[in-house]
Symmetry: D2
Subunit: 353 residues, 4 copies
C-alpha cells in the first residue's frame, strides 16, 4: 500500500446473517481487519444463543478464525448489538424489514442485500467507480429521519461487470451484452443441490438478469447533488450457473460510439485507478488486472488475485460495433462481503462513521 | 417413425480415427444401425493390428458393443478398408491428408473433421437445414475427378446454433451473438486435463470462435446449382469450456429485422420440420424441442433427447433488437458422430451411395 | 433372455414416494415394464392432486416417460390407490407408519425403505442371493394378520457388497472391511448441497455404516423354515460421499478361512448365477461382471452394465489373510428401485402376487 | 511459533523439475521463505532458457510470485545451478539419474521423487516422526563418497498415514488397512484427463499401493546407528482417485495388540508433538489436528490447516481388533513440496547444511 491512512480507534462492527456463505466471508475478512473490530455476530432465532463455531458449519478453505469460534450468536435485534457498523448478509426478504430498523436505531448498515439497492436515496456503491454517490447518505438521512443509514453494494455479477465498464465510459457505451458463468457460492450454502449442478449447467438464476440489467446504470450514473441520473446504455444479460465453487466468469460485448481500438480498451482497463480508495485496507492495488494469455482469466486460478478484490479481464477482441472480452471476479469477496467492507472503509476515510 | 424407408441391402461402413472420443461415438451409433453394417475400424499405426477392445480405452456410459470388441484395428489406408462409406473422426491435420486419398479411391467420406468444411465444392451439411447443398457433390466430383466424395458436418457448437437459426431465417436475421459453455468431450479424451477444468471455466477454445463465426453463413446460405452463396448475417462468438462431460449450452442473442414476438419465435422453433429427413433412422422426431420451464434446457438432463439428436431450446426472451434464448445439444452425437451418420443416411435415401 | 416366462395378465402397480430420486427411478423402470402396468403415483400432500410432470422436477438423464407425465399425483393412502403392488420409495420415518397400512389393506409392498429391513419376519432380499427367504412372507402374514405383506431390499451399499460376498461364502468368510465412495444420488435430490461436495469428500453418511455392518449377515443368513439365522462373519465399514452422480464404488477386504487363490475368487465371481431369477425381466444376464483391466470398474463407465443391474468387480488382489477387490454398482437401480422391482418379479414368478 | 531459531545467513536454494505441479508448490513455498533464498529454477531442455512465467503454466490458486516470474529457467545440470540445496520435483525415472549427479557435485538434494526412498543408506524422513534417521546421511556419504547427499520424503499418501500411525506405535501396531481417496494433483498437471475423472472414481493408481505398503515400515523403523530396522506391522492398501483438486483422504483401520480405547487414541493424536521440529518455519503448530464433528476432516475445508502442513483426523471409531479413523492431508504441501522443505529445514537446524 503506497498510501497510509490511520484510524484513530478501532471501529466496532458486527455481522447480521452471519452463518451463511456471505456471512462467513464477512467473518473471514473482518477477523483480522486493521480498522474494524468484529465484536458481534447475529443470526436467525434458530442459532441465537449458541456458539458461532457450532452453528456456522464453516465451509471456507481457510480455518474458522480462532477468536470468533466461541462468540455467542446474538438475535438480529438492534437493541442487542452494540456496534457502530453492521454488515448485512441477510436474504433480501428479511433485509427489507430488518435493515431499516438498524438504520433507524443509528447504525450504519453496509448491506449486501438487494432490498434497497434501487431506492433513489440509497447509494449503490463500488468505491472505485462512484465514490461521490456517498452524497446520497445525507439525503437519505434527511428523507427518512434516520441517525444511521443504509449503504449497499451491487449484485455480485453486476460488480464484476460494472467495474470493467467504468473505464470504458469514456468511449461512450451504447449497449452491453453479457453472458455469465456463475459459481454456486452465489446461491448460498444450500442454494444449489449437487444433483442439480454436477456435470451440468443451469441456464437460469432467479431475478439475476433483472438485477444485472438495471443496477449498472445506477452505479455508472451521475450524482448531481440530490439524485443519481442513470447512465443511458442498455444491458442484456443471460445468466447461468456452472459447477464452480467461487468466481463469476462473464463474457461481455460492449458497443461504444467512439469505436476504440483493442489497445485503447486494454489500456483503459490497465490504467484504471481511483484516488478515493487510496489507503483503504481492502482496496486492491489494481482494481482490474489485464491478462495477456489466451486462456485467462479463470475462476480457480485468478479469483484470489488482489486478495479476492481484483477483477481480472482478458481476451479483448474486436467485433462489429465494439469489443468483447472476458471478466472474472470473486463473487463472495469482491462481489459481496469484500464489497461491503470496502464501502464501510470509504465511510471511515470520509469521516462518515 | 411415421414414414418408412427401406434399404435394399445393408451398406458396409467403416470408421477412421476409431479410437478417440468421437470415434467411439461412431462405433456406438453404428453397431446396431438398421442400414449400415460396421465392418472396419481404422486408427493410427500405434493401434493397427491390435484388438479394438484393447486399444480403444472405451469411456462411454454404455458398454462397448460386443460384436465390435474383437475387431482387428486396421491401418488408415484406403487399400485395406473394404467398405462403401468411411466415417472420419480424424484430427483436422491428419484428415487434410487422408480424406482426399479415400475420396479419390472411391469412398464416400462422411467427415466430422474441419479440414474441408469451408472448401467451396464440399457440402457442409445439417440434413434438416440445407439438404439441397448435397448438389455440391457432383460439382466436387467433376472438379476433383474423384469417384468418391467428401461430405462434412459443421463444428459441434455451430450445429447446435445453426439448427436453431434455420427457423428464424424467415424473420431476416441481421446479427447473432453467442456465448458457449462447452463440454470437455468436445476436446477429445486427453484434450482437457482435470487440473485445468475442475472447479473452473476456461474462457478459450482454440479456433472455435472462428469456426462458429464462419460456418453458419455457409450452412444457411443458398445453393444456386453451382455454388453456395453465404447468408448475410454476422456472428460474434465467445467460447468457453465448463466442467460438463457432454452437451454444449449456448446463450444466443439474435437481432432480426422483422422483429418477431417471442411467441412467433417459439412457434418457429416448435414447428420446424424437414421432409427430406423423413425416414432417416438417426433423424429425431423433433429436431428442436422447446422447453417451458425456466431452468431448461440443461446438458445433463436434456442431452439425450431424441437419442442425442434433438437440440433443446428454452428461455426465449426479448431484448432490444431481437430475442435471446438458450440452446443445448449433445456435442458428440448431434454435434459430431450423429451428424455424420445422418449425412450418410441422407445420401443413401437420395441413392447417392 | 434364454428362458421365457409368461405372465397371464399385467400386474397393476403404483409407486409411493414417487417424486424423489428413487421414486423417479421406479417410474423410469416401470414405464415400459413387460409384466407391470404403472397406474398410480402417490406422493406427499404437497404434490397430491397435481400433474406428475409438474411436481417431479425430473432429473434423470433420459426424458420423463410420456405416458406418465400427465398422471395426477395421488395422496399416500391405501384407499385411493387401486393396484396389486406398491413400490415404496418413502423416507424411512414415513415408511415406518405408512407401509403397514398398505400391507394391512392387502397390498404387496416392495419397499426400498430401511424401516422394516431388520424385522425378523420381513424378508430382506436380493433375489440372486437368498430367494428362499421369501418363505418369511407366510410367517409375516400369520404373525401380523395381514392380507398383503412387506418385502424389502437392502441398503444400496449393502446390495453391491452382499452380491459379491455371496459367491465367496463357500470359502468361509471370517471378516470383511469395506470403504465406500458413494454417489450423491443416494442422498436424494436435496440431500447433498453442491457447496458440500464440489472438490470434496465427505467422510460420513448418517447411519450408513451401521446398515452395512448389520444387513449383510441377515441376507447371507440361513432360512430354516421359520426364521433367518444370521451369517457369522463381521463387517466393518467406513462410508464416504464423493462427487459422483450415480454408482457406489467399494474397496473390500475379505478374510476367508479357506484361503482361496485369486483365480478361485475371480472364478467364483464369474460363474455366479441363480436359477431362481431366470426369466425375470429385470435380472441381468450376469449378476457380477469381472473386469481384467487394472483401472476398472468405474462408476461413470460401468454403472449401466446389465441395464444398471449388474455389479462390476475388478482388481482382485491378495493380502495377508484373504483377498481385496473393488466392487461397483448402480446405487439407484441395482441398489434401490431395480432391487425392489426384481423382488416383485420374483414374487410374480412364484405366484405370490 | 513458541521457539525461535535464527539462521545466520540465508541458504541459497534451487528447484529442479520446477514447472510441474509439485515444482510450482516448491516455488510457492520458497518464494517468501525466511531461511531459504530461491535463486535457481531448472527444468527440462524444452523449457531451459525461457522465462519461468512463460513456461510454468501456473495453476495454483494464488498468483505466481512476482520475483520468480522473470527467472530464466536453467538446464538440469549441477554445473549451472549455484545453490546449496536443490529441491527435486523430478519424475522418478529422471530423478534416478539426475539426483546422484547433484549429490556427487556437493549439493544437498531434498527429493520428493521415489527413486531413492527405499535405498538402505538414504533417509526417508518425516521430521516429526523419525528425525534421528538423519544419521543415515553420514553413512550415505561414506558409502558413496559424496560431498552432497540425498534426503527423501515419502509418497504423499504414505506421509498422511505414517504421521498418524506414529503416535499409535505405543499401542503395538499389528496390521493396517487403508483405502484412499486421492486428489488429481497427485498425478501432475497432465496426469488425469477430465474425461477420466469427472463424475467418476478411478480405483487404481500405478505403483501407489506398493509404495504405501512398504514405505511406512521404514519411516517408523528404528535407526540403530548404522541402518534402519523396519517396523514389523503389515499394511494393505487400496488406492483410488476421486474428483478432488488437492487433499488425500484416507480411511484407516489399525489393529493394535494393546487394545487402546478410542479416547486413548484420540489423545495420542492430539498430544503428538516432536521437539526436534521446534522453530522450523514450515512445521505446523499441530502436526495432527483432531476433529470432533462427524463429517470431518474434508479435503476442501481442511487441506490448508497449518498452512497445508497439518494432517487432520476424525471419526475415530472402534472395530473388532482396533480402531478405524479418517486422515486427510494436503498432498502437494505436507505430502510433497512442504515435506521436502521441512526436511531441509531440519538439516539447517542440525547444522548439516
Amino acid at each position: 500500500m503506497q498510501f497510509h491512512f490511520d484510524v484513530e480507534a478501532m471501529v466496532k462492527v458486527g455481522v447480521i446473517g452471519a452463518t451463511g456463505a456471505v456471512g462467513q466471508r464477512f467473518v473471514q475478512l473482518l477477523a483480522e481487519h486493521p480498522w474494524f473490530e468484529l465484536v458481534a455476530l447475529a443470526a436467525s432465532g434458530r442459532s441465537a444463543g449458541k456458539r458461532y463455531g457450532d452453528v456456522a458449519n464453516w465451509r471456507l478453505g481457510t480455518p474458522i478464525p480462532e477468536n470468533v469460534r466461541d462468540f455467542e450468536v446474538l438475535p438480529t435485534d438492534p437493541k442487542q448489538v452494540d456496534v457502530d457498523v453492521v454488515f448485512s448478509a441477510l436474504p433480501a426478504s428479511i433485509a427489507r424489514e430488518v435493515e431499516p430498523r438498524f438504520a433507524e436505531a443509528g447504525f450504519v448498515v453496509a448491506s449486501n442485500a438487494s432490498s434497497y439497492r434501487m431506492e433513489s436515496d440509497v447509494p449503490l456503491m463500488i468505491p472505485e467507480v462512484n465514490p461521490d454517490h456517498l452524497g446520497l447518505i445525507k439525503i437519505q438521512r434527511d428523507a427518512r429521519n434516520w441517525d444511521g443509514c443504509i449503504i449497499t453494494n451491487p449484485n455480485c455479477t453486476t460488480i464484476v461487470m460494472a467495474l470493467t465498464l467504468r473505464p470504458l465510459m469514456r468511449f461512450d457505451i451504447e449497449r452491453v451484452y453479457v453472458a455469465t458463468m456463475q459459481a454456486v457460492s452465489g446461491a448460498g450454502y444450500e442454494g444449489v443441490a449437487s444433483m442439480t449442478i454436477l456435470d451440468n449447467v443451469i441456464p437460469y438464476i432467479k431475478d439475476e438478469e433483472e438485477k444485472v440489467e438495471t443496477e449498472a446504470q445506477k452505479i455508472l450514473g451521475k450524482f448531481d447533488g440530490s439524485k443519481v441520473k442513470n447512465a443511458d446504455f442498455s444491458v442484456s444479460a443471460s445468466c447461468h450457473r456452472v459447477p464452480v465453487m467461487d468466481g463469476h466468469t462473464e463474457a461481455i460485448w460492449v458497443m461504444m460510439r467512439d469505436n476504440p481500438t483493442i489497445e485503447e480498451v486494454r489500456n483503459a482497463f490497465r490504467t484504471f485507478r481511483c484516488d478515493e480508495v487510496k489507503g483503504l485496507p481492502t482496496a486492491p492495488e489494481k482494481p482490474i488486472i489485464v491478462h495477456d494469455a489466451d486462456d485467462r482469466p479463470q475462476p480457480r486460478v485468478d479469483r484470489n488475485a488482489g486478495r479476492g478484490m481484483s477483477v481480472s479481464v482478458g481476451r479483448v477482441r474486436e467485433h462489429a460495433g465494439g469489443v468483447k472480452y472476458i471478466a472474472m471476479g470473486h463473487n463472495t469477496i469482491r462481489g459481496a462481503a469484500g464489497a461491503s467492507v470496502l464501502n464501510a472503509e470509504l465511510l471511515v476515510k470520509k469521516k462518515m462513521i
